[in-house]
Symmetry: C2
Subunit: 329 residues, 2 copies
């Protein structure tokens, strides 16, 4: 990964990063960024090579005023070439709005932790499974009408542990994984929502999850979502990579924090994940200099909000500098 | 890892952490900590379960005044039960002093990067190999006289890259590994001195290095030393663990910084490495609460100096809390 794009070959391993700062990051921050600022963020992310952005969430504005402009962001994002526009939806109603908005993909969170599910959604995980079925039917009916399809993804929250109940049994995660795929989810990701995962656990759970998902076809298990609360974010990304994960969520500047640990890190930082993948020789299509510039912009827009990550401060190693490539061009 | 020690079984994986904050950390910090403070650090580290501490370096005091009290620290450290007392030695003269001091082990750094070797030691790596042979002969002669043996370890600096020359060829690292073992090194570690390593590279190099070292007997390749300059420190520790490394260097609070990147992280933090290993179910004998208390002390002793790491701010996950064990006791 350099200022200019390296030339991928058929044997170059590939991965993609989904930017979730506009949703997972901003929903944890009290202030509301003005829509024009969010659009700058969106366009800069696209310019930096990010090809999937979670632009917001279709939850009622009274619950998350910071994300009330999601429909407008979707509209603007759809104009960016080659960008997959994703939104979070908490339920059937949100799914309706997502389909209406023209978003390419919608992500429904399901808590693998029973306690977390009840506390956050006031539903048991299996209730959410049933809702996934309803959303799938709604989506299919809407597709036949409009001709375009909003991809249905489920994000399995607290897949590696929960602040309320502590441990989450791997068998329960796998049971729910199978259930959501049977109910009609097209893609599923595992999320370490509270930063409890360790890389050994990540590798084992993803390996087992790939076996389950494989029964439903290729590419079903399609995302790793990691928080860096306890510093294991990138170790977990690496472990997931080793298990076969090729798509990762991240937030510019590692924003989002942790409601339980003031000042602690949030999501893994987009630029840090980009560095990790590139340093391992993985082609991500990302422009590091542009990601650094975006981080600087986000720091300005969120002045006073702690940002995280390491690569911004240290810079690229000599082995990955861009200058020689540019001089040669 | 809890406030009380878990009961290890024969199948529990084990690893050890060598605290190098008193040497690798302090040598990068301008101020000189008074010896009584260092002794507090040493004793607190021992009380927290650390069973190997690199207490200083036998370099001329005019070069590293911060470490001028190494002989006294060795003396005091030798009184702590079960503690392996290590010192860094830059050359034969330093080795003489180490043997004289009664230290259990001495570590001689060798730069895998030719450019780094010339710049830092004014010797080529193969000159250092020859010196290792001389040190081994000196050590053997001293052992027969005194009956006690100062273990000779070599730390392969810049094994994963160098700020001066950039890339370091794995074949060169392996060539030097073989050479130092042939010259008489009893243990060798690979060090990512400048925070350039990525976990894929770490895993591959250690796997290859274990093959080479295995020709010389068991346990020869015995240490991973990682810097967190670019945020990959713990990912690299995990990758090294996967390759079979069971001993890791770390600094309390991740001190040490980076001369090339002001404010950047230094060594991986002892408490963060302890957390990573424990979260993977590895028995380290470390008391997390005591490590946290030590970090707080170090922050006070080095007031104004940036400390790093994540676990101090976030705390242990619910799945690893100590309270229930104490209530049951």
């Amino acid at each position: 990964m350099t200022g200019t794009m390296t030339s991928p070959t058929t044997s170059t391993p590939r991965a993609s990063v989904r930017e979730v700062g506009l949703r997972d990051g901003l929903q944890s921050i009290a202030r509301t960024l003005p829509t024009p600022i969010k659009l700058q963020w969106l366009r800069a992310a696209h310019a930096a090579g990010l090809r999937e952005v979670e632009v917001g969430s279709f939850v009622p504005p009274r619950l998350l005023p910071q994300l009330a402009d999601t429909a407008e962001l979707v509209r603007e994002a759809l104009a960016l070439p080659g960008l997959t526009v994703s939104v979070l939806v908490p339920n059937l109603k949100g799914a309706e709005r997502a389909i209406e908005s023209g978003a390419h993909a919608m992500l429904l969170p399901l808590s693998a932790s029973h306690a977390h599910s009840l506390a956050n959604l006031r539903k048991a995980p299996d209730d959410v499974v049933r809702e996934i079925g309803e959303i799938r039917r709604l989506r299919d009916a809407s597709s036949s009408a409009s001709g375009s399809r909003c991809l249905l993804e489920v994000g399995m929250s607290t897949a590696f542990g929960c602040t309320i109940q502590g441990g989450v049994e791997p068998e329960e995660v796998l049971r729910l994984l199978r259930a959501v795929l049977e109910a009609g989810a097209e893609r599923v990701g595992l999320a370490d929502t509270v930063g409890y995962a360790d890389p050994r656990q990540v590798r084992e759970l993803f390996e087992r999850a790939f076996e389950v998902a494989g029964e439903f076809g290729e590419g079903r298990l399609a995302c790793g979502h990691f928080h860096d609360t306890r510093g294991l974010g990138l170790a977990n990304v690496f472990a997931a990579w080793e298990a076969g994960v090729r798509r990762f969520d991240a937030c510019t500047g590692g924003i989002g924090g942790c409601p339980h640990a003031p000042g602690a890190s949030g999501n893994v930082a987009t630029e840090d994940v980009a560095y990790l993948l590139a340093s391992m020789g993985v082609d991500t299509g990302l422009d590091f200099d542009a990601l650094m510039a975006l981080r600087t912009s986000v720091a300005g827009w969120l002045e006073g909000e702690p940002l995280h990550g390491h690569i911004w401060r240290a810079g690229l190693p000599k082995t990955m500098r861009t200058a020689p490539a540019r001089e040669a061009a």
